[in-house]
Amino acid sequence: MRWRVWAAAVVFGFGFLLWADDLSQLEGPSWPAPGEQSFPEQHEKLIQQVKARNNQFPTQGTIGYRDDLCGPDEQGRLKSHRIYILMRYSFAPVLIDLRGDHPGSLVLTSKGIHFEQKAQRP
């Protein structure tokens, strides 16, 4: 009964058209604009600049982290979490600790990120 096979092929063909449309809808909306870098790439570049400005920046071990930028509300906490995850990714293998006291700390402010040694704190 060849017509069944042809009908099944038409069904699959219809599914293929829907699939192609779904894939095209995935492309673009949340992607960086053409020519622009993704958020993690921008972050990686920023972190290299922070490291370059601070010749005492460690290459291993644990440093502290303080977020003076994002607010305590729900949106602020989500933004802070995302930035922390990217910091951890970019600074690896240096571990970033939200708790505790460390000789050096990353500080996030409205003016950017800087690395602060204990002795330098106001």
């Binding site: 009964m1 060849r2 069944r4 096979v5 009908a7 099944a8 069904v11 699959f12 219809f14 599914g15 293929f16 829907l18 699939w19 192609a20 449309d21 779904d22 894939l23 995935l26 492309e27 992607w31 960086p32 993704s38 993690p40 790439e41 990686e44 291993q60 071990g61 644990t62 979490h81 922390y84 995850i85 990217l86 951890r88 990714y89 690896a92 293998p93 571990l95 970033i96 600790d97 939200l98 708790r99």
Partner: protein, 472 residues
């Protein structure tokens, strides 16, 4: 890129050659070679990730010494395998249907290739836009690979349980494989993670297509391959560099090894041992793999009660455990020595009992499960139902064992996921929203395996293959 491919190809080639020794019948068909290569590659790079991780506590941070040791060990193994392969061997029993596909069914690779090219184009475009992957990729998989690769004395920080450190207890197949590729490449670029992600997707398609081609013939493998890629969620998951597609490979490969075991009269030790290795590697990929490990043993037991009986079950599980042993010990060592407590387990409280009795949670989970299955690939469920109505079931003489096992396994794993959501310490709707669609991706190739074992092939539907004679 060449060095990354070399790092992946080395253990893959050795394992494929090893499998070839135990299953010489595979050489009779091209698809037999593809099947062996897919399984061998998965097992090979899985084992490589295990001994790469074990090198750290034994000898410290891997460097060029690891590469020399690995080349030497694999070279010695390759020499032994070559000497063994040179001798004449019995071909062994083939396990596939002797009827080759018809001319037109044999050309179904053409539409599959078109879909594969479009899917690859999407994955490559996504990589160019987001080379570091999406959230989970840089929140835990690739960041842990960085700790392993970059941290010379502080590699244990990869498992540090700091606040907001997501899932430090997750096993290490993906991070260790990526870090090993970086060691060979000499730098931690973004090519290694996407290469591993794409390779695992290719292996999944390969094992599904070749396995079904051997078991069912008649173009069935290519149709299953099209259905696999036909899920846009599945294709999306490849590009974002998550661990769901690698887990899906180990799940379907382990299941298909047992189906082959059933089709060979349950006499071989190769297939249960392979199933054990692959199930172990599933557990080495994500914690959901531990659930799968329990489910596959339970499913085999349940099916044995109504079928072959307890003695064949115990015999096959003996080989299964032997295959699982090296990877199981690695997982145990990792969990005991390095991994902090799992967040879902550690978060259990006396209130969990109240959660189990809360009917609104059951209602929400069932509703979300139904919605996730319905929305997986647009109208995919309807398309598969229509396909079933049109092609029907195969003739009785061409139905083989293994289908019931696949469906019991799927239900067992789904039941396990259901229980996890019921008892989750997280807010339920958040947990469902952020993870359920990916659990469907993990089980998608397995579901297709069961489905395409159960329905007629294009040749059977087109009556190219003779149907059963009418009963007199």
């Amino acid at each position: 890129m060449i060095l990354i491919l070399f790092a992946l190809a080395l253990p893959a080639a050795i394992c494929t050659a090893g499998l070839r020794i135990y299953w010489p019948a595979a050489q009779v068909r091209p698809m037999g070679w593809v099947f062996l290569a897919c399984l061998g590659t998965g097992v090979g790079i899985g084992f490589a990730s295990c001994y790469f991780f074990l090198w750290y506590p034994a000898f410290g941070h891997p460097n060029s010494g690891f590469i020399v040791a690995e080349l030497f060990a694999l070279g010695a193994l390759a020499t032994l395998l070559y000497q063994y392969l040179k001798r004449p061997h019995k071909k062994g029993q083939p396990v596939f249907l002797e009827t080759p596909p018809s001319l037109w069914a044999g050309r179904l690779w053409v539409p599959f290739t078109v879909l594969a090219i479009l899917a690859t184009r999407y994955v490559w475009s996504y990589y160019l836009a987001e080379p570091h992957g999406y959230w989970d990729a840089y929140a835990f998989w690739n960041v842990r690979a960085r700790y392993l690769y970059r941290g010379t004395e502080t590699w244990r920080d990869a498992f540090a349980a700091y606040p907001l450190q997501d899932h430090p207890d997750y096993p290490l197949f993906l991070p260790a494989t990526i870090a090993r590729c970086w060691l060979y490449a000499g730098e931690d670029d973004t090519l290694a993670p996407i290469t591993v992600a794409f390779l695992m997707a290719v292996l999944t398609a390969g094992v599904l297509i070749s396995g079904l081609s051997l078991l069912r013939g008649g173009g069935q493998g290519w149709v299953a391959g099209m259905a696999l890629i036909g899920s846009h969620q599945y294709v999306e998951n490849i590009g974002i560099q998550y661990a769901d597609v690698p887990l899906a490979f180990f799940i379907v490969a382990s299941a298909i090894a047992f189906v082959f075991h059933d089709r060979t009269g349950r006499s071989s030790c190769l297939f249960p041992a392979l199933a054990g290795m692959l199930a172990g590697l599933a557990a080495w990929t994500k914690n959901e793999g531990l659930l799968f490990l329990a489910a596959i043993v339970g499913s085999r037991g349940a099916v044995a009660l109504f079928g072959p009986g307890i003695r064949p079950f115990l015999r096959e599980q003996g080989w299964f455990l032997l295959g699982l042993l090296p990877i199981g010990l690695t997982i145990l060592y990792f969990k005991v020595e390095f991994a902090p407590p799992n967040d879902l387990v550690a978060g259990q409280k006396p209130a969990t009992l109240g959660q189990i009795a809360d009917w609104s949670r059951h209602e929400l989970i069932l509703k979300e499960f139904a919605s996730a299955i319905w929305n997986h690939g647009r109208y995919m469920l309807l398309i598969l139902i229509a396909y079933t109505v049109l092609v029907g079931r195969p003739p009785v003489s061409r139905r083989g064992p293994g289908i019931a096992f696949i469906f019991v396994l799927l239900l067992s794993v789904a039941a396990g996921y259901y229980l996890i959501y019921l008892t989750t310490p997280y807010e339920l709707s958040w947990h469902l929203m952020t993870s359920l669609h990916r659990l469907i991706v993990q089980l998608w190739p397995l579901a297709l395996l069961g489905y395409f074992l159960a329905v007629a092939t294009p040749d059977e539907a087109g009556k190219v293959v003779p149907s059963d004679p009418p009963k007199s």
